[in-house]
């Protein structure tokens, strides 16, 4: 209260009536109703936003009656040209010329219908909507004498343009990638699927951040119960801030305690489009170019976007390489440890002799040796991500020569170990899914411990536990370890063990007419409270 009074003292005395109302309302625990006085409203809004300097308030008068009006918008997240051209100009000049001075009844509705030459306009009746509107980049117009406000969609401002995705690069295929703007991202996918049965459902997640999240699917292709489950999970999220899709991924997973992620992410609109056409669901999160796909199976992690643009015969062969890379990146160090420590007899004699002579000077057991090298590799990898480009070459020389060759010559590790670690590291990059590669990096160390303790027996038992854990996972009710591609009907299945057999999108399904009698049940299920203007962007029109 003290703070509030202090703020009040700086204002003109004419605000008295409004502040009284505000006090009365704040005693009730909510925000006051919108006052009829323009000055009160503008002052209240200023005070709510902490008198922020990037909030622009422009007062003016409309028409021959000289009705005082005020437009409020945030600098930087609005398109200034639009504010000037379609809000201020049309209200100050054009509305005045056209308006009949005798008419008075509902001036806001009149303005909304006749004056504002802007695509999306809403009538707002409470402060929460108004504040959210202003903070999302809309322009809100108050009129003296009316306890309502109009918002016009003027979202805009500086944004990153569409560029080629940096993490999922293809050789032959589209080069556009998602940006941080959810509106742009949705439009990139929309452009690829011009179907009336594409459904988009908005959500707001995070009490403070109020992050826009959108769920996109093709009605009739995506399974209804999966969509319903996703809706329930998204609307059930109680969280303060959502700043990226990683957190959302964690929040809507079926099983939270697992090193595996049961949703895949992509920054490619064509990947999203392909998944949507296969009956899966895309989840867009504002503020990140990485959007989520659900449901996901384990084998889907090994499909890359490139596969859609390559001949299926070649893809089948490449995917086998990826599986081999998976097995190598997971098992290579542990198999080496097991063979050296427990099962020397299975190594062919000449190789065993050579290994033995290499290891003669190495003071460590194979497990410690492997741990040293793997750990060094992990450090190099972490450093490689963060180090400035300019000194990259120097570090790679240090990494390759000093840590590799010199360590062998110094007798700290054997050269066979360097080969094992190198092939493990390279294999882990062959995995198209970064998430999966991370999980495998983690599990590899546990496997190494199992191998050091019990040799192949330990590896076998650990694998049984690992695979049974993966078998217990599910992604929106779809088993994670299923060989079948989820959501795709049996007859149209075009992958075997994740290997695509044909790229043809099989016979088109009869697209259910949108909003028709058949789809009535689904329309009801859409969240009714979500405002519809959240995803649109003035700049993209």
């Amino acid at each position: 209260m003290m703070f509030y009074r202090k703020a009040q003292r700086n204002r003109k005395p004419s605000y008295q009536s409004h502040t009284d109302a505000a006090n009365a309302a704040s005693d009730n625990g909510g925000k006051p109703p919108i006052s009829a006085g323009l000055a009160d409203n503008l002052a209240y809004l200023r005070q709510e936003l902490g008198d922020s300097p990037d909030m622009i308030v422009r007062t003016f008068e409309i028409g021959g009656n000289r009705i005082p009006a005020g437009a409020v918008y945030m600098d930087g997240i609005t398109d200034k040209d639009m504010v000037n051209e379609y809000i201020l100009k049309s209200l100050m000049i054009e509305a005045g010329e056209a308006m009949n001075p005798d008419e008075k009844p509902d001036i806001l509705a009149y303005l909304k219908a006749n004056a504002l030459t802007i695509g999306e306009v809403h009538l707002l009746k409470d402060w929460d909507c108004i504040i959210l509107s202003v903070l999302s980049g809309d322009t809100v117009i108050f009129l003296d004498g009316s306890p309502e406000a109009i918002s016009g969609n003027t979202k805009g401002g500086e944004q990153r343009t569409i560029t080629e995705p940096s993490t999922q690069v293809v050789i032959r295929g589209p080069k556009d990638g998602f940006t941080e703007s959810i509106g742009t991202n949705v439009s990139l996918v929309r452009r690829r699927i011009k179907s009336s049965s594409v459904r988009l459902e908005p959500f707001k997640i995070g009490q403070t951040t109020k992050t826009n999240v959108a769920v996109m699917y093709i009605q009739g292709k995506a399974e209804d119960h999966v969509v319903q489950l996703l809706r329930e999970r998204l609307s059930g999220i109680q969280i303060e801030a959502l700043t990226g899709s990683e957190l959302l991924e964690e929040l809507i997973q079926d099983q939270k305690k697992s090193p595996f992620s049961t949703l895949i992410n992509t920054e490619r609109p064509d990947t999203v489009a392909n998944h949507l056409l296969d009956g899966r669901i895309a989840i867009f999160v504002d503020g990140t170019p990485f959007n989520l796909i659900a449901p996901t199976t384990f084998l889907m992690n090994f499909l890359s976007t490139e596969d859609y643009y390559t001949r299926p015969e070649a893809v089948a062969a490449i995917i086998i390489v990826r599986y081999a890379a998976l097995i190598i990146s997971l098992f290579a160090p542990s198999i080496y440890i097991a063979a050296i420590t427990f099962h020397q007899e299975m190594i062919p004699t000449p190789l065993l002799l050579s290994l033995a002579s290499q290891r003669e000077s190495v003071p460590f057991p194979a497990f410690i040796e492997a741990l040293i090298m793997e750990f060094t590799f992990e450090i190099l990898r972490e450093a490689g991500i963060r180090m400035p480009r300019a000194i990259g070459q120097a570090v790679s020389i240090v990494g390759a020569l000093v840590l590799g060759q010199a360590a062998v010559e110094a007798g700290i590790i054997s050269s066979a170990m360097v080969i094992v670690v190198a092939i493990t590291g390279i294999s882990s990059f062959a995995n198209p899914s970064y998430n999966m590669a991370l999980s495998i990096r983690l599990i590899r160390f546990f496997l190494m411990v199992a191998a050091a303790l019990f040799g192949f027996y330990g590896i076998a038992i650990f694998s049984i536990i690992l695979i049974s854990h993966m078998c217990s996972l599910s992604s929106f009710g779809v088993p994670y370890m299923t060989i079948k591609t989820p959501s795709v009907p049996e007859a149209e299945r075009k992958t075997l063990f994740g290997i695509p057999l044909t790229k043809e999108k099989t016979k088109p399904q009869p697209a259910p007419d949108s909003g028709g009698s058949g789809a009535g049940g689904n329309d009801q299920a859409q969240p009714a409270s979500a405002p519809s203007n959240l995803l649109n962007e003035s700049g993209s029109s």
Partner: protein, 365 residues
């Protein structure tokens, strides 16, 4: 039974094959037939199929009930409860025998300095984990591991073929001592191990998605597994001859050590060990699962998962303590093969069938 769990026919097929392979792939089966073991296996197969049909018959009569459920229904609560309890004890014992066989092979193969209890403990951790995760996970796991087992089998048999260690003359004479010893080996020995052990699948049938396919799938799986078993044992004998075969503790292991391809694949023992670990794991887990299912039914325990740990520990202790040495374990096994096994897998089910038919007739008339 819980609605959430459901097993598909493919999963049942895979699991029966893994279960049949279990230890039967690695251990010598049948005692007397010598070079004709592979024939005995094929001869025992029809008997195994008849037993399987008998087990599924009860499932058709009581689709929702597990083994202990319909035993009590048929024999009444006073006789049914102790008989069901005996089944629990029997299944625990078989499960621990399987564990012991794996443990002893592992120790004789490459873990001669590791204590038996440690080797067993590692395996039982995996069993407890999978039982805890539930029947769905177990069967999905089976679906994946059948691929691994079959590819291991194809690889090692290809290696055997190319190595030239195959001495087909070892398989002759075909029924040199007449038809009778071969037949006597099949009945009861091979019928009891591994075919009659399928009785513990009676606790899994209620989880099946398509009840109608249980019989067909199972019979196909028995056919496939006995063909593969027969082939594998024929190859073993062809490599090492019937003398060594009948003396070796683990004939598959002995025979595979002889194989050498192109001076490169010199030792395929890890394949055998892996096969045994996988086979034993699934076999003992199915048994352990049967125990938990029946114990949950008998003692009215809602959450079957609670039982995973205590039952795992019991199996572990019995596996370590039941015999001082592997020869003792084997002699126990021979006794068991002519006493416990026929009683539980043949005598009691036939008795149940008779009582059930009599009851049915009396209610009809």
């Amino acid at each position: 039974m819980s609605k959430s769990s459901s097993v598909s026919p493919t999963q049942l097929f895979a699991m029966i094959i893994l279960f049949e392979f279990g230890t039967a792939l690695v251990l010598p089966i049948g005692q007397a037939a010598g070079s004709n073991v592979w024939l005995s296996i094929l001869l025992a197969m029809p008997g195994g199929m008849i037993l399987y049909v008998l087990y599924t018959y009860f499932n058709r009569q009581f689709p929702a009930l597990t083994l202990s459920g319909y035993i009590r229904k048929i024999l009444g609560p006073y006789f049914g409860w102790p008989v069901s309890f005996l089944y629990i004890v029997y299944f625990i014992y078989i499960s621990s025998r399987n564990l012991r066989e794996a443990g002893d092979l592992l120790i004789s193969a490459s873990y001669d300095e590791t204590p038996l209890a440690t080797v067993h403990a590692v395996m039982i951790i995996a069993v407890i984990y999978v039982i805890y995760k539930g029947v769905n996970v177990l069967f999905r796991l089976g679906e994946i591991y059948i691929l691994i087992i079959i590819s291991l089998g194809i690889l090692s048999q290809a290696a055997v073929l190319f190595s030239g260690a195959l001495e087909l003359r070892n398989l002759l004479p075909l029924m040199g001592e007449g038809f009778i010893p071969t037949l006597r080996d099949a009945y009861p020995n091979i019928l009891m191990f591994p075919f009659s052990e399928l009785i513990c699948f009676a606790t899994i049938f209620p989880h099946m998605k398509q009840q109608k396919l249980i019989r067909k799938t199972g019979l196909l799986a028995i056919l496939a597994s006995s063909l593969m078993l027969s082939l594998s044992h024929a190859i073993e004998i062809a490599i090492i001859g019937k003398d060594i075969y009948s003396r070796a503790t683990f004939p598959l292991f002995t025979s595979i050590t002889i194989v050498e391809v192109a001076e490169f694949m010199q030792r395929l023992d890890p394949f055998v060990i892996l096969t045994l670990i996988i086979g034993v794991f699934f076999k003992m887990t199915v048994y352990a699962y049967a125990v938990t299912a029946m114990a949950a039914d008998l003692f009215r325990i809602e959450d079957r998962r609670q039982l995973a740990f205590p039952i795992g520990i019991v199996i572990f202790l019995i596996s370590v303590l039941s015999a001082w040495s592997f020869p003792e374990h084997n002699s126990e096994g021979r006794v068991h093969l002519i006493t416990g096994s026929p009683f539980f897998t043949v005598a009691v089910p036939i008795l149940l069938l008779l009582v059930h038919l009599l009851k049915k007739r009396s209610t009809h008339s």
